[in-house]
Structure formats: structure tokens, C-alpha cells
Amino acid sequence: MTRKLSRREALVGLAALGTLALPTPARAQDVQPPEVLAVRVPSPLPVDPEAEAWRRARAAEIRLLGQAMAYPFKMRPSVPSVRVRSLHDGERIGFLVEWRDPRPDWRAVKAREFKDGCGVMLLPRGAGATEWMMGTLKTPATMLHWRADWQRDLEAGFQDLETAFPNVAFDFYPPLVGVDRPKLPDGYPADAREWLPGWYAGNPLSQPRKTTPIEKLVAQGAGTLEQLPTQNATGRGVWKDGRWRVVLRKPLRAADAKEVSLVPGGTYAVAFAVWQGAHEDRGARKSITLLGRLRLEA
């Protein structure tokens, strides 16, 4: 029963974007699509946002818009712009994405807590406005999605409910009789996981053990986002002095059928997104760039 927006509706949405989705009353020509050059450097590609190697890339400051193409809309962006740099070493490509955020939000435990995040969307060269809306059936979009909550899980251990509710009390969690505050994941044998339905069902968001802070995703239209079978994206985010600086990396060559494969010298379509937890951003409530161009140095 899914019903995607028709072309007419998409154009109406885009028109709405022009009038509504800017942080200040600015003219449409003020907002430029990204132009990103991935500079070639020797291996290894840095994962640390503060590594020297990033200076070799050219920084591009890109304006962000709201999102008014798929429900629910976000009329104004949370952040005015992102600064993007890109490097590749012939094997992997990396993006350093930076934006201003007065408050880091790395926890999504409470019902009204949302995490900070950023994303890179990759599409083949020639992709246009329609593909920009999270890909199409014919042209899947590849996404790298950095998540502050996964970053924290990795660095400080799984952030369970006690981090938000230190005074919680509960007699016991079945079937773990006599265990006070069992810890995930080691305190939960396989037969106990039924009581954690997301985990039991294999939802990647519910797996307490994280190996990377970056999800590698594919979408073929709004609402179809899924994790790709091979989760080999890496990266790291650091918040300092009111700014997030996040590295997102993936191998150039696609590991999965629907993933975008990159080659040195190639040109692709790219867009960026930012989620500000303090603004209750999540899913479609995101600040996005127009679809622009990514070129890999040969």
C-alpha cells in the first residue's frame, strides 16, 4: 500500500522548497549544489578527523536546505551549511564533513532524545532531481550514515537505559532471575533475547555490539532505506568547540550489487545531509544539500 509521490507532486515539493526551505529569505541562486573533488593521497586514508592529511583536500562550504519532498517535511534547515573535504587513496574514499552544533547529542535513549548524524549520498553520474529523492527503483542511491549514538556505543560501551535513567529499579528482567541490572550484550544469553524484540528480530539499530559508527545504506526511493549486506564503512566523529567533524570512509569498489562503485578519475553525483538531535531531526527531518558533483582525482 506504499504510495510514492508522483512527478507532479515532486515538482510541487521542489517549488515549495524554493520558497520555504531556506534559513533566511534568500534567493534561489544563493544555494549552490556541492562541487567536491576527492584528492588522491597515498594510503592509508585517515580515519581521524584531525589528521594532517585532510589539509590536502579542498574544503567546500555548502549551503543546506530543509527537506520538503517526502513526509514528514522539515521546512527550515537546522544548520546553515556544511564544510566538506574529500580524499581517496585508490582503495577507499573518505569524506570529512564538518558543521556547527552547540550541543553534541550522542544519546537516543529517552522517548524524546534524538542523535546527531550526517550522511553522504552517492549516485551515478547523470543523476538528477528525481534520483536526488533517495534514489529510484532503476537507480539505487548509496548512503553512508554516521551516527553519534553508535560512535558513543563504540567508545564508551553500549549506552543502555541506565545512562539516561540512573535511578531505574526493576525486580528482574525475565528470564534472568536474581540478576540485578543485566548488561547488554554479554549478560544476555540467546534465550533471553526474546524479551528484546528489536534485537531478536535482527534489527541493526538494536544490536548492542557495534563495530563501526557508520551505516552503509541503499535506497530506491523515499521510505525504502535498508542496510546493505556488507557493512564495511568506517569512520569517526569528534565534537569539539561547538563543531562536529566527522570522517566517513568506504572502499571504492562496491561490495554489494546495489552499491555505487567508484573509480579514480570518475565523476559521480553526491549530496550531504545533517541531523541535529537538539532539533529532533531524524529520518526525513534532515538538512540537505542539493545534488552536486563528486570527482575523484585520477
Partner: protein, 728 residues
């Protein structure tokens, strides 16, 4: 039944004469002034002179006065008070005062039993105690709380205000210092610190001035629990060595009560029945002739610890050095945000669907398609006793996992003052604004039609604290009960009722419409609305837009969950847990049809479409919810009921009343089939004094008589050669 054999079969009473005796001739009873039926004021729990015999002078009443025991007539000490045989006329008693009044004692505190437990069972598990009164919170946002819930005193709000006590304040409650909290406490300050009662005060509109009430079930504070409360960083009143968990910070209701050793309850000479068996005996017999155990009552003083200063208590520190957490003092729901702005150019044309509850077509983001059959239920609010058995059944089945602590897929709230989460109904109605019905057609906007630009529906996301205190407002009347309220008239001017709620498995769910990923779907075979645990990405658009707030975010798995209507049981023809476990048998479960396809022999269709005694919940929201309610017929505020249940209220009330007066056997029969079996009843028949329920295949699964048959059992059972007895 007590006295059945005596009144129906002329068997003798358990007295020396074999007759009911309204006097006692034994010396002790004459000595204590209880040889005639007299009223004695309580030994402690009275505003007046305690333990006096209230009677006009009578020649047969000649008790031994205090002087006969070597006591002064004005000696009112606690120990001797029990044997003071002083006669006062009713007028003299009314003019007299309890000796502790001059020390600022103001309240008779009673400690009765509550429906949520039998003795301490039910006060000993976290799941039950969280629903006990208005202070339940698994996350203990207020770290002062000894456990996930706690004992409290119900006070008349005007009394409390006069004493300078705000709703939710911790207070010291003290009884006669001569012997409570224990004899010799003045010389043992360290022990006194453990047992002096610190307890939560709660404003309760329907308790009379001068009386306070505290339930007697809760686990008391001990040395170990106080140690836990004071030393643990989370403040849990839990003994570090034994894990004993108290429900009080300090002391307990037992700090202010004691047994009274009334002489006439301890005679050896009284002839009476044994507790068990058809046997006559004398003297002590448990529960027949002995001193009173529980519940008990006392005369108390209630005081706030220390001085808070200022209007709010934020920043104040109580007597135990613990501060009041900011933001917890007075909790009101966040103000309604400004009415959202519409940008017509950004809107997209939506399909139209037909919603019979509002009598018209309406917008919905998906094509209308009804399931093959729609699971549905009818709740009779006139029979709900808010025992919370349904809540416990659901929670122990589905939401006892980590991250699910605060989730109540089923809850029972008191109306008008209760809600879970906080003010969910007030908030959604305020967001929507007032709209009108035109007969049975709703002319206002639904939540979809009132959606702000860029949103699928109108909604709001609750704060985590909104989910705390799920049973706030329990048993609170709409108005305080004062002398001039005609609350004994029907319908009541002063009222409350219980509203049990689950996910309504709506025909046009707001949650399903809101999910950008269609992770929520409606099963075509039975209309159950489910949230795909694998597909959800925790956006919580569903949590925001469900007006009933029956989708919940799991703090540990970081995705959302909701009621599944026990579909594994449904698929085998068994009713959901919350339905089949209902003690009051208020829930009729089955499948509802649209009005044009209603079957008169389908119990749910009969209640909803034929008799129209079962009404939808908040139909104006436009979701076509599938849990229906028989409105409470005693509630005097019809407009309040219409706001909740729509325009059919008056007809439903009249129809139900008629059935209760014997004028509708068929309706009576259907209601008696509720929870008569755990099988789903698809068809019914009322015939010759019985109601019959049939399953999907037409097999009879239950038969219920319309009138409870009378059973007479002779006192002697010749087959087993024993006497049957009344357990009294």
C-alpha cells in the same frame, strides 16, 4: 451466608441460650460497661475523648470507673485509656476533644486494605506497586522515592492546604508520642530516626475533612532499607545484604498504629462459635474473639519537614538532606504550541476514505481498504473496577524486558483527573481545537485534515516524564465531596469512572499513516496493526502521531513497539490476555463489521450497531478506532462523556439502564457472555434464560445462565460424613 441455618432452618445460635443475645450477663462485661450494645469511641482514632462509652445514663449500665482501678478520672494516658470505662452522653462527646489536639494533632488516620493486593501480595512486586496510587515511576526521576512506588497518605485538599502541605510533599506523620513509633523512643534517637514515619502526602478530593488514609500493605522501612536509601547513589531503600526492598523512606504506617488490648475482646468466659467447624466454645478464638490485629487507626499529627521557603519547593532540601529535583515539583503538561500554519502550495491531494464513526468521507494518506474482518472489543465501563489485572496480564506477557519498563500497552486510568501518559487526551483535543457534530456527522477536522504542512497528522511527542505516574488521579472525584453535594443522587454530580485502554487497532491508524517507511502495517486477515521490529528505524513519527499514545519507544533496542493484540492466541481462537483475564468481565472481544454488514448474532456488532450501546473512543479524531465503550451511566456530566464517546451517549445510557432494570434480556445475555470463556465468541444466542456463545465453526463454547441459580447445601453431607460449615 452467616446465620443461614439459624434463620432458615431454626438451628440454634452459638450462645448459651441458643438465641441471639443483645445483652451480656457475664461479670466482665458488666464491669466494662458492655453488657448492653453500646458505642465506644475508638481507643485512639477519634477527634474526641477516646474510648468513652457513648450512652445516656441507664440502670443496667454500671461499669467500674477509673477510680476502681486506682486511676484518676482524668488520666488519659495511652496504656490506661484501654480500660477507661467512662460514660458520656452523645452531646458531651461531641463537645470533648482528644487530649492530643492541643499538641497540634488533627487527623484520624485509618489504614485499610486496598483492592490492588491481598495483605502484602501485590505490594511486593514492582509491576503491581507501580500502579498503586499516583507515585509510580520505574525510572525514579525523583531519587527520593524509596522504590518504584511508595506508600502515601490521602488527605482532603483543604485540610492539607491549611497544614501548609502541597500535593506530593513528604511529611512526618506521628501518633501518640507516649508509645509510638515505639515505647522508649525518646531515649533512642538513632532507632527513632529509622522508625519515624516520612510519607508522601496526596491530595484526595473525596475524603472527608479530618480523616486521612494510608494503605496498610507496603513493606516498612528497616535499619537495612534506610541504610540503602541513604548510602546508595540511586537512593533505593534496599537492604544491601538481604535485598529487602522497602516502600517507605523512613518508618511506615506501623509507626503510628498499634493493637489495642480491649478487655472485652480477651475474656475467657464468652461463649462463641469456633472459627472452623460447627463447634461451640469459650474464650479466645482467632478472628472471632480476640484483640484486633489489622487494619488500625490512630490520631495523628502531620507536618512538613523543615522550611522550604518560597512558593515552589524547588531547591528545598527535606529533613533527610535530599533536595527536590528541579522540574518535579509542580508538573503540568507543556503548553500547547501555536496552532500550526498551513502552506497550501506544499500540500498534496490525499485519497478519500469513508469513516462510518464520523458519518462521512475524510482524507487519509492511503487508499481505503478494509480487512477481511476487523478485530474489535467492547469495554463496559460500568463494570470496570480498575483492579489492573488486565494491565498486569499484558505487562507480564509482553513488556517485562529491558527498555520496556514504562510501557503499558494496556492501562486503566481514572477519569476525569487521570491519564497515561500525562494529559494525552487533553493535549490532542487542545491541539485539534473545538469542532462540531451535526447529528451523527462530524463537521470538524480530523487529525489528518488538521495536519500541519509537511506532517501526516496532528500530534505531539511526550516527554519521558509524562509516562511516569501512570495511575495519577486514581479514584479522584471530579469535585471534592462536601456536605452540600448531592452525590447520592443518580446520576452523580460528583463522579469518577475508569477508562481501560489498549491500542485501538484503528481502521485508519495515525501511526501507520505517519511512518515514512511503512514499518507499521495492518493485517488484511484480521485488521491487527503491527509494527515490524526488523524494519523500524526508531523515528518515532508513530509515537508522535498516535493520539492515544499507544506506540512506545524501547529505550534499549531503540525502536518502537505496540500492542499486538496477542495475535498468536487470536490465530488459535483464544482471546487476548487483557480480555480473558478481566476480573470484572467487562470485555467483549470479537470482530466488528461496518454498519451495513452488521450481524445481529455477532456480539460486538450487536452492542455497537444493533443496540448502539457501545461507542467509539474520540471518534472526532477520525481514526475509526475499534475498541468501543459502554459509557458510565452514573456520571452526571453528559457533555464530558460526549466529548469522549461522541453523540451516541444519551441513547447508550438509556439503553443500558433499561437492560439493567430487566427490560432487555438479549443485551443482558450478551454482556454476561463477556469473559465467560477464553475462546473468541463469534456468534451468540439468548434463549430460555441462557446465553450461548459459539466459535467460528458454530460449535457451542460457553453457556451462561441469565440468573444465578440458587444452591442449597444441607449442613450435613452424608456421603462424606462431615458437616459443611461457613467459614466466618
Amino acid at each position: 451466608m452467616v446465620g443461614w441455618e439459624q434463620t432458615q432452618e431454626s438451628k440454634p445460635w452459638y450462645t448459651k441460650t441458643g438465641r441471639l443475645e443483645f445483652y451480656r450477663e457475664e461479670d466482665e462485661f458488666i464491669e466494662y460497661g458492655e453488657n448492653l450494645p453500646v458505642h465506644r469511641e475508638p481507643v485512639d482514632g477519634t477527634h474526641h475523648e477516646p474510648n468513652v462509652i457513648v450512652a445516656k445514663p441507664h440502670p443496667a449500665l454500671r461499669p467500674a470507673p477509673p477510680e476502681a482501678y486506682g486511676l484518676r478520672p482524668d488520666d488519659l494516658r495511652t496504656e490506661v485509656r484501654q480500660v477507661r470505662n467512662v460514660i458520656r452522653s452523645p452531646e458531651e462527646v461531641a463537645r470533648s476533644r482528644h487530649p492530643l489536639r492541643k499538641l497540634g494533632y488533627t487527623h484520624v488516620l485509618i489504614t485499610p486494605k486496598y483492592r490492588h493486593a491481598c495483605h502484602s501480595t501485590g505490594a511486593s512486586t514492582d509491576l503491581d506497586v507501580v500502579f498503586w496510587g499516583p507515585f509510580g515511576d520505574f525510572y525514579r526521576h525523583d531519587r527520593r522515592k524509596p522504590w518504584v512506588s511508595e506508600g502515601y497518605i490521602d488527605l482532603n485538599p483543604e485540610d492539607a492546604k491549611r497544614l501548609g502541605i502541597a500535593d506530593g510533599d513528604y511529611v512526618w506523620c506521628e501518633a501518640d508520642p507516649q508509645d509510638r513509633p515505639f515505647v522508649g523512643h525518646e531515649r533512642k534517637p538513632e532507632e527513632r530516626r529509622i522508625f519515624r514515619w516520612l510519607v508522601r502526602a496526596r491530595y484526595y478530593p473525596s475524603i472527608m475533612s479530618g480523616t486521612g488514609r494510608a494503605w496498610f500493605h507496603f513493606y516498612i522501612a528497616t535499619h537495612g532499607s534506610v541504610e540503602g536509601h541513604e548510602k546508595r547513589p540511586d537512593g533505593l531503600a534496599k537492604n544491601p545484604r538481604t535485598n529487602y526492598q522497602a516502600a517507605y523512606r523512613y518508618g511506615s504506617h506501623q509507626s503510628i498504629t498499634r493493637a489495642w488490648l480491649r478487655p472485652t475482646l480477651q475474656t475467657d468466659s464468652l461463649v462463641r462459635k469456633d472459627p472452623i467447624g460447627q463447634v461451640l466454645g469459650k474464650g479466645f478464638a482467632l478472628d472471632v474473639h480476640c484483640t484486633v490485629g489489622a487494619p488500625k487507626e490512630s490520631y495523628v499529627r502531620i507536618r512538613r519537614p523543615g522550611r522550604a521557603g518560597g512558593r515552589g519547593r524547588e531547591g528545598a532540601v527535606d529533613a533527610c538532606g535530599r533536595g527536590v529535583p528541579a522540574g518535579l515539583r509542580v508538573r503540568r503538561p507543556a503548553p500547547v504550541p501555536e496552532r500550526p500554519v498551513h502552506h497550501p502550495e506544499a500540500e498534496v491531494a490525499m485519497p478519500k476514505v469513508y469513516n462510518w464513526q464520523i458519518g462521512r468521507e475524510m482524507d487519509y494518506p492511503f487508499e481505503g481498504r478494509r480487512p477481511q474482518r476487523q478485530a474489535a472489543a467492547v469495554f463496559d465501563t460500568n463494570k470496570c473496577i480498575a483492579c489492573q489485572t488486565c494491565t498486569m496480564a499484558c505487562k507480564t506477557t509482553w513488556t517485562s524486558g529491558k527498555g520496556q519498563e514504562y510501557m503499558f500497552w494496556n492501562n486503566v486510568e481514572t477519569k476525569p483527573w487521570g491519564s497515561y501518559p500525562l494529559a494525552w487526551d487533553v493535549r490532542v483535543l487542545e491541539l485539534l481545537g473545538p469542532h462540531a457534530w451535526d447529528g451523527n456527522v462530524y463537521r470538524g477536522k480530523t487529525l489528518f485534515e488538521a495536519a500541519p504542512s509537511g506532517e501526516r497528522a496532528l500530534g505531539y511527542l511526550p516527554e519521558d516524564l509524562d509516562y511516569a505516574y501512570p495511575n495519577r488521579g486514581e479514584d479522584e472525584t471530579n469535585l471534592p465531596l462536601t456536605q452540600d453535594r448531592f452525590y447520592l443522587r443518580l446520576p452523580h454530580d460528583a463522579w469518577f469512572f475508569y477508562l481501560p485502554r489498549i491500542c485501538n487497532h484503528c481502521t485508519y491508524p495515525a501511526c501507520l499513516a505517519s511512518c515514512p517507511r511503512t514499518a507499521i502495517y495492518k493485517r488484511p486477515e484480521d485488521g491487527i496493526v503491527l509494527l515490524d521490529q526488523q524494519r523500524c528505524r526508531g523515528y518515532r513519527e508513530c509515537v508522535k502521531n498516535c493520539p492515544f499514545k499507544k506506540v512506545f519507544y524501547n529505550h534499549t533496542t531503540r525502536v518502537s513497539e505496540k500492542c499486538v493484540l496477542c495475535f498468536p492466541a487470536l490465530e488459535r481462537g483464544i482471546q487476548p490476555r487483557c480480555m480473558r483475564n478481566c476480573i470484572g468481565k467487562i470485555r467483549t472481544f470479537g470482530f466488528v463489521s461496518t454498519p451495513d454488514r452488521a450481524r445481529a448474532d455477532n456480539p460486538v456488532d450487536f452492542l455497537v450497531h444493533v443496540r448502539k450501546v457501545a461507542l467509539p473512543l474520540l471518534p472526532q479524531l477520525g481514526l475509526e478506532a475499534n475498541v468501543y465503550y459502554i459509557p458510565p451511566v452514573h456520571v452526571g456530566n453528559v457533555r464530558f462523556l460526549q466529548m469522549l464517546f461522541g453523540p451516541g451517549v444519551e441513547h447508550a445510557v438509556a439503553t443500558y439502564r433499561k437492560a439493567m432494570e430487566g427490560g432487555d434480556e438479549e443485551l443482558l445475555g450478551v454482556l454476561l457472555l463477556a469473559v465467560s470463556t477464553d475462546r473468541i465468541v463469534h456468534r451468540f444466542r439468548v434463549h430460555r434464560g441462557h446465553a450461548y456463545g459459539y466459535d467460528e465453526r458454530g460449535e457451542e463454547v460457553v453457556r451462561v445462565p441469565l440468573r444465578e441459580p440458587t444452591m442449597v447445601r444441607p449442613a450435613y453431607d452424608p456421603q462424606h460424613r462431615v458437616y459443611r460449615y461457613n467459614v466466618t
